[in-house]
């Protein structure tokens, strides 16, 4: 905790206190955040990442490590609880998420149980950067869609609801197509469900349009920030281009239209595509058109990033994306989000660490995990609060 009193007074600690109960390997743990930078140090599998995951869950209601709440509850327990005390411009608030092995989550904000959990989104914003994020470059389109969805949710919390609606329509429509394809294979007389399918087509186009417009808007905001950061980190020798590539080809001039007409044009394009693919869809028994097949392309100097460069270069690229995300959220929300760095800082060389340090300065509250402090630049160590994690407990 050396030097913690020397922090600049402008620094704001948004997440001030965290309480974990029966969460992952923590039985009961209080954490006080007293500096804008916190370093969690400890051996592997002691619970450092679990703590970051708890913060991520409070901010986004999702974990990038699991989609099953049961995984988050300490073994032999029924219910886990994460509570955070947050101080932001809108005033202090207490956010508490209960996760159950069996049954649904509950989210309580300052004593009020939220009937719609997405209303709790935006109480705390966070950007997480872990080694898994290298899959943004190397992995398939679904990784990038998931990342993009997470970002849009933080920028516009209602997106969580829109996404759920779209996924529901998609599941229903797929069930109908599957049923149809099965009847066809078994040589049964096909019941006439064309009218029913037409309604699901319309629903898919309507809900899908909402996703496409919001995704496009988010990428438009993010792309210039990402290239700027990439330029700064890589020394301006290469250009990163981030592009939203919706599954349905949308004419470039559509994006210039006024909002209502833009929406109508996209919906019409979606519907036309759906009709084009109707026969193949009915044969394959699944939906082939829509934002569930969108892609975000990353290119460096016009070459696909997947084939580009070393691990170090890919890491630079992801770092640029994360910093862009951080700035985009700050610009839209009006307050800087938390930055959660899971085991990635020590993997950056000192020059990149310094870039990062310069970028976040004291503006962003940052929580970092690491197995050893040796790889850190002295400036990091000087201004940070260091907590040691050992088998589900913070020991110092």
């Amino acid at each position: 905790m050396v030097g913690f009193f020397s922090i600049a007074p402008v620094a704001v600690v948004y997440l001030q206190r965290l309480h974990l109960r029966q969460f992952r390997n923590y039985a009961e743990q209080w954490v006080e955040f007293v500096a804008p930078k916190t370093i969690l140090v400890g051996d592997n599998a002691q619970g450092k990442s679990n703590l970051l995951e708890a913060v991520e869950l409070l901010a986004t209601l999702r974990s990038h490590r699991t989609s099953r709440d049961g995984d988050l509850v300490r073994s032999a327990q029924d219910c886990a609880q994460i509570t955070g005390w947050i101080d932001r411009a809108a005033g202090p608030l207490e956010l508490s998420l209960s996760l159950r092995r069996v049954g649904r989550r509950t989210l309580v904000r300052s004593g009020e149980t939220l009937r719609r959990q997405l209303d709790g989104l935006g109480s705390l914003n966070a950007v997480e950067f872990s080694s898994l994020d290298l899959d943004l470059v190397r992995g398939g389109p679904e990784q990038r869609r998931r990342w993009l969805d997470g970002l849009v949710m933080q920028l516009e919390p209602i997106y969580a609801h829109l996404l759920r609606q779209y996924e529901r329509v998609l599941r229903q429509r797929n069930a109908l197509l599957r049923d149809w394809a099965k009847q066809r294979r078994q040589g049964q007389a096909l019941s006439d469900r064309a009218a029913e399918l037409a309604i699901w087509d319309a629903q898919l186009a309507a809900t899908g349009t909402r996703l496409i417009r919001r995704r496009a808007r988010a990428i438009a905001r993010l792309a210039p920030l990402a290239s700027r950061w990439h330029g700064a980190i890589s020394g301006r020798v290469e250009t990163l281009t981030l592009t939203y590539a919706p599954n349905v080809a949308i004419a470039p001039d559509v994006w210039q239209l006024p909002a209502l007409e833009e929406a109508r044009a996209i919906e019409a394009t979606l519907l036309a595509q759906i009709r084009d693919q109707a026969e193949i869809e009915q044969y394959q028994g699944t939906s082939l058109v829509g934002p569930h097949r969108d892609e975000v392309t990353l290119a460096v100097d016009d070459a696909p990033a997947k084939q580009y460069g070393s691990q170090g270069q890919q890491r630079t690229l992801v770092l640029a994306l994360k910093l862009a995300e951080l700035c985009a959220i700050e610009a839209v929300v009006g307050e800087p989000p938390l930055l959660l760095l899971d085991d990635v800082l020590a993997e950056l060389d000192l020059a990149r660490q310094n870039q990062l340090l310069g970028a976040i300065a004291d503006r962003f509250q940052t929580i970092v995990t690491t197995t050893h402090l040796g790889a850190f630049d002295a400036r990091w160590l000087d201004s940070a609060q260091v907590l040691t994690v050992r088998s589900g407990e913070i020991v110092a």
């Binding site: 092995r101 069996v102 009937r115 719609r116 997405l118 209303d119 919390p157 209602i158 609801h161 609606q165 529901r168 329509v169 599941r171 229903q172 429509r173 069930a175 109908l176 049923d179 019941s191 469900r193 009218a195 029913e196 309604i199 699901w200 319309a202 629903q203 809900t207």
Partner: protein, 208 residues
């Protein structure tokens, strides 16, 4: 974990009691603890009372069927609403199930008649238009020369799909309207959640 709890119960309760708890627990909204409380309560009641309860269950099951006209729950072939001559014969309010009908009846605002669909379109659950009472509705509208069909189906994805499907089907024959969605009356705007507000904005209308 559930299995362990069940095994424990068999050891603690005598067999007929365990069976009663088991049955009660199948009811919606009843968990293991409530089931136990209800079962122990029932055991303490006089036998005549239990007889009455059991008989009421059987009678309801055996005597209550669906109205031939609107498919509302009814002990008679035609339900009270449909056989009431004072109700507007020319307006039909379409609801997903009988519970919704009862909710609308409680308002005492609506003087027309109803049609109960028996669910909403949901391919995932194997429910297509043919599993609902949609054909009888179309025939009814045709036969009764209905002036207006009010679609009063909840705004879930499936409800919305059913509403769209019905409106396309019925529009050639009659005027089709749907109930409005938005803010609860007496509620404060600032406390409304975003989804409801968005819906209310979508359904805004000109001030008369």
């Amino acid at each position: 974990m559930l299995y362990a709890a069940q095994r424990r119960r068999c050891a603690v309760y005598t067999r007929p009691l365990a069976r009663l708890i088991e049955q009660l627990q199948r009811l919606p909204g009843i968990g293991p603890k409530s089931a136990q409380r209800l079962a122990l309560y029932l055991l303490n009641r006089p036998e005549a009372e239990i007889q009455t309860l059991a008989q009421a269950l059987l009678d309801a099951k055996q005597q209550v069927g669906h109205c031939q006209v609107c498919y509302h729950l009814s002990a008679e072939p035609v339900c009270e609403v449909c056989s009431n001559p004072n109700r507007d014969q020319q307006t039909i309010c379409v609801v997903a199930d009988s519970r919704d009908l009862i909710a609308i009846e409680r308002t005492r605002e609506y003087r027309g008649r109803y049609h109960v669909l028996g669910g909403v379109i949901s391919p995932m659950d194997g429910i297509g238009p043919e599993s609902l009472t949609i054909q009888p509705l179309v025939q009814r509208v045709h036969r009764e020369k209905t002036h207006e069909v009010i679609l009063a189906i909840g705004p879930s994805i499936e409800g919305e799909t059913t509403t769209l499907y019905l409106s396309q089907l019925l529009k050639p024959f009659t005027k089709v309207t749907r109930i409005a969605f938005g803010l609860p009356v007496g509620g404060e705007l600032e406390y409304a959640d975003e989804v409801t507000l968005a819906k209310a904005l979508e359904g805004r209308r000109e001030v008369e």
